[in-house]
């Protein structure tokens, strides 16, 4: 793997709050790859993603996004990244179009390009008719779609999603999944966490399983099945098997 094909490179990442949250994680994700980071609650998934997004400083380790050092040159790295947590990052008193204009401004986009992208995303996510409505009246699903439009408007090369499907109904979840797959096919690198293992099984190219701040196992579903010793299991069975005996397995 050459450095030009690497979208994200994480080495020896460590973060400690009152107790260790992330303990020496190494990750390499290729350009255009759809990567799923799975793990039980409190495993360190969100902390890892927040450090990659430049929201949290690691105690130790290095993070490179498309060859840019996130710690040394955060502004340049953030140009490439979009961050979408489970709670939509929205301003209730702004309309969707004002919100998208604000994000386009933060990412210093050309206004014409931003208008085109915004229109395309709003139409794609069925939000065009709500473009002049304030977000305060939106349902959970509409808020998540508006936040996703905000994350995608500046055409990020690395999309970081923390539980993007939490609380969405089936129809909206489908819209979001389709849009993510479309972006991945177009060359966007995506890293997401989810507790819905069926979603991970169907969406992602590679999976990393994390527990107690350490990467337990990593690979395609087939590779993980082989590691767990169950060649015809579902991801759920593989996941439960792996997290049940973390110390016994090689990473």
């Amino acid at each position: 793997m050459t450095s030009s094909t690497v979208a994200l490179s994480v080495r020896g990442l460590r973060k400690r709050f009152e107790r260790p949250a992330v303990e020496g994680i190494d990750l390499t994700i290729e350009v255009g790859e759809f990567y799923g980071l799975l793990g039980p609650n409190g495993a360190g998934k969100t902390t890892t993603l927040r450090m990659i997004a430049g929201l949290l400083k690691p105690d130790l380790g290095s993070i490179q996004v498309f060859g840019i050092d996130v710690l040394g040159n955060p502004t340049a790295a953030k140009e490439q990244i979009a961050w979408l947590p489970d709670e939509p990052l929205l301003y209730d008193k702004l309309t969707v179009s004002e919100y998208l204009e604000f994000i386009a401004g933060l990412w210093r986009m050309d206004p014409r390009q931003a208008e085109r992208n915004a229109r395309e995303l709003l139409e794609r996510l069925d939000l065009w008719v709500h473009r002049d409505d304030r977000c305060e009246g939106f349902s959970r699903g509409m808020k998540q779609k508006a936040a996703l439009a905000g994350a995608l408007i500046h055409d990020p090369k690395l999309l970081i999603l923390d539980e993007p499907l939490t609380g969405l109904d089936a129809a909206i979840a489908r819209q979001v999944k389709d849009l993510l797959l479309e972006r991945a096919r177009a060359g966007c690198t995506i890293i997401l966490t989810t507790h819905v293992l069926d979603v991970a099984e169907r969406l992602v190219d590679r999976i990393g399983i994390i527990q107690s701040g350490r990467l337990l196992a990593e690979g395609t579903l087939q590779q993980l099945r082989a590691k767990a010793g169950h060649s015809d299991s579902t991801l759920e069975e593989v996941f439960l098997n792996l997290v049940a005996q973390p110390r016994a397995l090689p990473t």
Partner: protein
């Protein structure tokens, strides 16, 4: 030192300070000839009325907040506890908190006065809770009336304005003798004229005369207030629950402008950031009325200073410097510390310092009319004076804004009223800054060759 203990230290210091201030006052009262019973009753009536109206001003806001609070309401209403009991607990909490707020300011004086032999002040320990219950009853009636008349969507804002008017009206009334005196009459004559206009031995003074008459009458007043409180809860408990349920079901979504077929985005990052801040402030009527409410407290100061002359000009212009400081500090707190989505801003490829600078500009923009007012009004008659006040108002606004922009504390817009809680030092520094700029202004006027 634990955080809990640390946060109580300013309150303890305030209590000690008030006790110390009360000592010379107690000595002065001891050496003043006793007032007639009518004079004492009048003092007690006016004092009680002022406290009652200020209590209503405070408790009205809390009552309306309770009306809209979701929090544990669904849980409580779905439990086997009677809804009326739940309302009674909330109302008792409002009465207790408003009593404590005023008790902290009044009881230190009562303690010292009692120590100096003025035993009548012991009655404040029962009269203040009685006033708290009466004020809460009035607030509940007012809150439900506003809800009935203006509807769920507007009640919060109207209640803020009503509360501000209650507070401002009585603060101005409190200054009435000073205002009259400044019109060339002495305070005694002014107060005498005021009392002369009151009905003689009418019902107006009866409660105060009764309270001054003895403990039984005091107890009767307390029982009457408690009875009003109980009756209000009994009659309005159901209406409060119904209004609260209706408040929870209002739709908050708004359309901001007419739909257009095309999107029109601005290309300038600074303009977009400023627009976003101004939109968020302008679309939050609750916040705007909070700002108005707190600004209104400067009116009495302006009223007092209006007739005071400095270099032949009203000193009231100094209030513009104070107002600019207050507004800049408040708006800078709103734009920086109360940022709704700090994570989004932190994830953007733009430096935190640049964001802070733009936020400060956004905070100062709405204050420009206040800052320019003196120079615009006085440019024909007293240009230098107007320029000095405007310049110092700008300096004061920028320095108070900078203080808040570089503060690390985070909060929510809904916590606006409590923004200096646990950060009394910042409030004190803001006052010092405003005072300093007022001194600079005074020096500019006095030392000016064009005076």
């Amino acid at each position: 030192m634990s955080k809990a203990v640390g946060s109580k230290i300013p309150v303890l210091l305030l209590l000690i300070l008030l006790h110390l201030i009360a000592i010379p006052m107690a000595l002065a009262i001891k050496h003043t000839p006793s007032l007639s019973s009518r004079g004492a009753a009048l003092g007690l009536t006016i004092g009680g009325a002022i406290v009652l109206f200020l209590m209503v001003s405070r408790s009205l806001i809390t009552a309306v907040q309770a009306l809209y609070a979701r929090g544990d309401m669904d849980l409580l209403l779905s439990s086997p506890v009677s809804p009326r009991a739940f309302v009674a607990v909330r109302a008792s909490f409002i009465a207790a908190s408003v009593t404590m707020e005023f008790g902290v300011l009044i009881w230190p004086f009562a303690n010292v006065f009692v120590l100096f032999g003025l035993l009548g002040w012991l009655r404040t320990y029962v009269l203040l809770p009685a006033l708290g219950m009466l004020a809460t009853s009035i607030s509940l009636v007012l809150a439900l009336t506003l809800f009935h008349v203006f509807g769920a969507r507007r009640t919060r804002v109207i209640a803020q304005i009503t509360s501000a008017l209650f507070a401002a009206g009585f603060m101005i009334l409190l200054q009435l003798p000073n205002i009259l005196r400044s019109r060339g009459r002495n305070a005694a004559a002014a107060t005498g004229a005021f009392t002369a206009g009151l009905p003689g031995d009418s019902a107006f003074l009866t409660p105060a005369l009764a309270v001054l008459g003895g403990s039984v009458a005091t107890l009767a007043v307390v029982v009457a207030c408690a009875a009003i409180f109980g009756l209000t809860l009994r009659l309005l408990g159901g209406a409060f629950i119904r209004a609260s349920t209706a408040a929870a079901s209002i739709s908050v979504g708004r359309r901001t402008r007419n739909r257009s077929d095309a999107l029109r985005f601005h290309g300038n990052t600074r303009l977009i950031l400023i627009l976003k801040e101004l939109r968020l402030i302008a679309r939050d009527p609750w916040l705007l009325t909070q700002l108005l409410q707190q600004s209104i407290f400067l009116l009495p100061l302006g009223a007092v200073l209006w007739r005071q002359q400095g270099a032949g000009l009203p000193l009231a212009w100094g209030a513009v410097i104070l107002l600019a400081s207050f507004l800049a500090s408040a708006l800078a707190w709103i734009t920086v510390s109360a940022e709704d989505v700090p994570e989004l801003v932190a994830a953007a490829p733009i430096s935190a310092e640049r964001i802070r600078r733009v936020k400060l500009q956004a905070a100062l923009l709405p204050i420009l009319p206040v800052i320019l007012l003196p120079v615009l009004v006085l440019w024909r008659s007293h240009l230098w004076f107007g320029f000095a006040v405007s310049l110092c108002a700008l300096g004061s606004a920028v320095s108070c804004g900078l203080l808040n922009v570089h503060s690390d504390s985070l909060g929510k817009r809904s916590d606006f009223r409590l923004r200096n809680k646990g950060n009394a030092g910042r409030g004190f520094i803001e006052l010092l800054l405003a005072g300093g700029w007022m001194l600079v202004c005074t020096a500019m006027v006095w030392l000016s060759p064009w005076r």
